[in-house]
């Protein structure tokens, strides 16, 4: 290990919300070819690494997620995004596993991203921050694991963009990944999804307060653009059925339409709220960078265009999960991953969970989904020699 921790020895009992500067001696070599470092990684751990160092699980967060998996989020004040899953006695059992989640490279919750100060200029990076990829995010996570003294992972798990990181981990570091759970994801970002992202980015770029990406130095925030980006994206996370059930054509605090462009409908009001609250917790340039990283994601392209080649000789146990009403990352995308894993004779489970909650289902309380996760992890734990959990 050549990276030396900046803050002395790692303390497993240290409090919530840690961060570490890595890559001082050995910068990251980004996919773009740029050498990047030192960089900061903000992370959170739960539970303890066992003596055999065999119980570590890496949780990978989605586009607008962060490392506050099971803690109250310090910015939004909301419970952790996977609070239902992570905790003592829960499926990702903190009494049993050592759980790690870090904010992705390019993010805005503590890990190096475009809103941070470029040490060379003393000004925010803005658009001078290097373009990053899912692979770069994973490389940064690998450095964090080195720092934490975790040699390999019992499991890597994540949904959506988190699932892309899971697939990248399993193909870039196959020997370090005992089991992998890519949820509601794809091995490459589809044209339709790139298109949605482009709408979001253009909304941000069209906001005059974006200032060519230099808004922080100029004391402005492209709130309107970022809010519109979020509104458009949020629609893609739901399903028609879920939206109809939640809102129908119900009116917002009024008995009839106003013949104007106020938020007459509840669904409009809801989306406006989603947009404006997002602005308080997310950086517009981070949104550009991270959506770009997803757009560039294409595992097959890195392996002569054949996805199965990416998984050749893999010994990882996979559990691929999709949701019936997810039209952003539909089941066909998961099935493509499963076909490739079969072609590599990999050990794979694949379940399509019935849900009308759309892409967001992976963040919600879905008993069937949780039952599958619990069963797969239990089986994998037995094979890992972690014994059977409480039943």
């Amino acid at each position: 290990m050549t990276v030396s921790p900046q803050s002395g020895a790692f303390d497993a009992d240290a409090p919530v919300g840690q961060s570490v500067v890595l890559g001082t001696d050995r910068p990251l070599r980004l996919d773009s070819g740029i050498e990047f470092g030192p960089f900061t990684v903000a992370y959170r751990t739960y539970g303890k690494l066992n003596a055999e160092k065999s119980n570590a699980i890496l949780i990978c967060h989605a586009l607008t997620g962060d490392h506050y998996v099971a803690d109250r989020n310090p910015v939004s004040g909301k419970p952790g995004w996977w609070n239902d899953l992570v905790g003592p006695g829960k499926i990702l059992d903190t009494d049993r596993y050592y759980l790690i989640c870090s904010n992705v490279l390019g993010g805005c919750m503590g890990t190096s991203g475009p809103k941070d100060i470029n040490p060379e200029t003393g000004k925010p990076w803005g658009l001078s921050f290097p373009v990053i990829t899912i692979g770069d995010m994973v490389q940064a996570q690998a450095r964090l694991l080195e720092y934490l003294g975790v040699p390999d992972l019992f499991c890597v798990i994540g949904g959506s963009m988190g699932g892309m990181q899971v697939l990248k981990w399993a193909t870039a570091y196959p020997d370090k990944v005992f089991s992998a759970i890519p949820i509601a994801t794809a091995a490459r970002h589809s044209a339709q999804n790139i298109a949605f992202h482009e709408v979001g980015r253009q909304a941000i770029i069209a906001d005059p307060d974006w200032c060519g990406g230099d808004y922080l130095a100029q004391g402005k925030t492209p709130s309107r653009g970022l809010a519109v980006a979020r509104m458009a994206a949020h629609i893609t996370y739901l399903s028609e059925a879920a939206m109809h059930r939640k809102f129908g054509r119900n009116l917002q605090n009024r008995s009839s339409v106003t013949y104007g462009f106020d938020a007459d409908f509840q669904v409009e009001s809801y989306l406006r709220y989603q947009g404006s609250s997002f602005v308080d917790r997310f950086d517009a340039n981070s949104y550009l960078y991270i959506t770009r990283a997803m757009d560039y994601f294409d595992i097959a392209a890195e392996h002569d265009g054949v996805l199965a080649n990416a998984f050749r000789d893999t010994r990882t146990r996979f559990c691929v999960i999709s949701f019936t009403s997810d039209w952003l990352f539909p089941t066909s995308e998961s099935r493509a991953i499963v076909h490739a894993l079969n072609a590599a004779a990999a050990n794979v489970s694949f379940v399509e969970v019935e849900s009308d909650k759309g892409h967001d289902a992976f963040l919600l309380d879905e008993p069937e989904f949780h039952g599958v996760l619990a069963g797969f992890l239990e089986g994998a734990a037995e094979h890992r020699g972690l014994g059977r959990g409480k039943e």
Partner: protein, 209 residues
């Protein structure tokens, strides 16, 4: 211990016959594995590296919830994905007659597996023959319990039909076991004319020649 996990000897007798054909520690693909009862047994008692394919999502969810490596998939379309020789045994239990292309599936099974184990109900059993002869109606028996209009079994065959297909495909029949409707082993060789008359179901162990 999961409710449906049962102690040794607790699985259906016809599944036990199949399980007994599998060498310990081998790589097994169970096509049409249902909730994975056979796979679970093979994992527990034969220490196999077991995988399953199941058409019904309900079966898949139950299997994965129980820690088995099972995918939702269709024997008719998904076997072609697997590389040749990936498994020691490919098992098709009581499913062949419900597939669209039994012949292609048999070929695929022995491409991806060194051996195949196939069990199926025997349309040549004397009760079936008698029902057709006497009543002139499609047979409905204990092992073939559906009316013609609602049966999932679209490609029934007799044991003689099956062995003829194996010959045609150049497959070697290593073992053929005749079973009664309860899955108990009958003394006749399944591949014999007596077997074809007296077996209500049969299990065959096949290999490439």
């Amino acid at each position: 211990m999961n409710a449906w996990r049962q102690p040794r000897g607790g699985i259906r007798i016809d599944l036990q016959v199949i399980a007994d054909m599998v060498e310990p520690g081998s790589r097994v693909l169970d096509v049409g594995c249902g909730e994975g009862i056979l796979l679970d047994y093979l994992n527990q008692f034969k220490n196999v590296d077991g995988r399953g394919i199941e058409l019904s999502m309900e079966g898949v969810r139950a299997a994965v919830r129980n820690g088995l490596s099972v995918i939702q998939g269709d024997a008719d379309t998904d076997l072609k994905d697997y590389p040749s020789g990936a498994f020691d045994y490919v098992i098709l239990s009581q499913t062949l007659q419900a597939t669209r292309q039994p012949r292609v599936i048999l070929e695929q099974m022995l491409r991806i597996g060194r051996r195949a184990i196939v069990s199926f109900p025997n349309f040549g059993h004397w009760k079936a023959r008698l029902q057709l002869l006497v009543h002139g109606r499609m047979p409905v028996t204990e092992t073939m319990g559906y009316q013609w209009y609602d049966t999932p079994n679209i490609h029934f065959c007799t044991i003689a039909d099956f062995t003829a297909l194996c010959d045609e495909l150049g497959l070697k029949i290593e073992r053929g076991i005749a079973l009664d409707s309860q899955g108990r082993i009958r003394k006749q060789n399944a591949g014999s004319p007596q077997g074809n008359l007296l077996a209500e179901q049969a299990v065959f162990l096949l290999s490439r020649t």
